[in-house]
Subunit: 332 residues, 2 copies
């Protein structure tokens, strides 16, 4: 347990006062070259690092932001977090991760408490799922916050990836290929209708197409397989829009297992543009979502809030359709 050097040690060693050391640290005021060098030398010799805790306490300017998320390892989540971290690091902030696993009030409260036990400059909430939605509501109002979301909502500043619009585009695309209607497999949690489902339904309604009952997949990769098999068994099914790429991959697999082929018999389209989507066979038609970019935009919005700059409260981007080989006109 080597003793860690404090600012006092540095000051003594450099033969200056504590505030002078602080001045060279923060650059808040001019310091003569001689003293500055003495201080810098002392810092090096003692291998000194300022204590963030003391700093925050004295300056009341926290340099930590917290990301609250329902998951950290699934593709979109992980990428969004990466984007936030990148932007935060560039801005001199560090990021804490807190995961909130359910919508249970107590569990959410505990997560928020944990996050707020640090003095925080602000919070980024991944409003991708019900835990995220609930967590967002519980953030104390005095704290700068931004939501990362797929659905427009003006209650807090947000970085948006407009999935409702994108889902409409996807559905329109399938319709334009000549399909009578488009079936849909939802990703969990589908408690409230998500943007993808809303967009799909809207496009179908506008086109006057029949609106089939959506299927519900779980996060389990293999749940897609069962659904794919069911879909293949229904001769009316010629086009399927899946809530994400992983589900689409499972669905395709199920269709193939059932003896049909993609896209000859059934067109399948995913969502997200997962890195493996282009490697799939057939390469998956999908919607590219720039999650990392969303994370970066979210941090920028948050920084504006933190610094009290008035300005945009919304940074919106439209995911775009990537047509590959899992979609084709219907064979009949």
């Amino acid at each position: 347990m080597t003793k860690v050097a404090t600012i006092t040690d540095v000051a003594e060693r450099a033969g200056v006062s504590v505030p002078t050391v602080s001045r060279v640290l923060t650059g808040a005021a001019k310091v003569s070259a001689a003293k500055r060098e003495a201080v810098e030398a002392a810092i090096l010799e003692l291998n000194y690092r300022p204590s963030g805790a003391a700093r925050v306490l004295a300056s009341r300017r926290p340099m930590v932001i917290s990301v609250i998320a329902g998951d950290t390892s699934r593709y979109g989540y992980a990428e969004a977090i990466r984007g936030v971290e990148e932007a935060a690091r560039a801005g001199g902030y560090t990021v804490m991760i807190t995961v909130v696993e359910s919508t249970d009030a107590e569990e959410v409260e505990r997560a928020i408490d944990a996050a707020l036990s640090q003095p925080l400059a602000g919070v980024v909430v991944l409003k991708f799922d019900p835990p995220g939605v609930v967590a967002l509501q519980r953030i104390p109002p005095e704290l700068p916050v931004v939501a990362l979301s797929g659905i427009r909502d003006t209650s807090v500043p947000q970085a948006l990836l407009d999935e409702t619009r994108a889902a409409e585009e996807v559905t329109d695309f399938l319709l334009s290929l000549g399909h009578r209607t488009v079936h849909h497999v939802r990703v969990p949690p589908s408690r409230k209708e998500d943007g993808r489902t809303t967009g799909w339904r809207r496009a179908l309604r506008r086109a006057g197409a029949e609106i089939p009952e959506p299927f519900d997949a779980s996060w389990e990769a293999r749940s897609g397989i069962a659904i794919g098999e069911a879909l293949a068994a229904d001769a009316d099914v010629t086009a399927v829009f899946c809530g994400n790429d992983e589900i689409a991959m499972g669905v395709i697999r199920g269709i193939v297992i059932a003896g049909k082929s993609v896209p000859a018999d059934i067109s399948v389209i995913g969502f997200d543009d997962h890195p493996l989507a282009e490697l799939w066979s057939p390469p998956l038609t999908t919607v590219r979502q720039d999650f990392a970019g969303m994370g970066r935009r979210g941090f920028d919005l948050l920084l504006a809030e933190i610094e009290g700059r008035e300005g945009r409260r919304l940074s919106s981007e439209r995911p775009r359709l990537v047509v590959r080989e899992s979609t084709a006109p219907p064979s009949r």
Copy 2:
């Protein structure tokens, strides 16, 4: 900007002294039921949350751990981080993430500085790649630290997923199927030999098999495709061991594009057991790595260090072979 309540406010409101509030907060000493209730009521009314910064400063007991990683969103990384976060949360710790993108000394230094600008209870380093290796070396010695790694190394406590052994097992398995030798595609960064390559080489040598020159893939999914095509063009190739599942998927795709089939013409085996591996066609034979478990084990080791408990400095687990359908005996 609502004013945030401090412990002094709570003390006043409850009609007790500040230390008494502290006592009910920390449970460090007995407080009479009456005062305890008064304090608890005041806390609720004022919506008070203790300041972590002040707490750390006064108690010198940080409750934050930092995860330092070269990446946060790729499968194994994201899962390992999830495991650490889970275990940390259960233990009352919060986790900060710092990514170090290169081995550049200055960049590494900056990352470590950022991480250490918080008062840290300890550090978990994802020693999966060169940035991780370098970062690990730069952690100040007085700080508890554990490495998450695939290669045994006794310099610091570590949670190990013994990939060298696993790679030997994979190679032996392919050889036992009747293949003359096994080709290998490495994942980046392959600067120094990784455990997977070492194990592969060792098994081949022991079996007296020819040791072909390994191929180097990039993180780009499609780099696997080109390698797959090259492999397919070589009639001597009947079995390929890929450094991870994503690469294996690309390689399979390349082989198929080149007109050969898996496993009839060439067996392919991956590493990690990516969630999509079982959905691939053919379902991928691979090695299951419990990254989240590794993260949890790593945190446990770290906690032991933090609490000064002597004990194991190594928590080792052997990844296990998962045989699916991308491997078969050679056709000739």
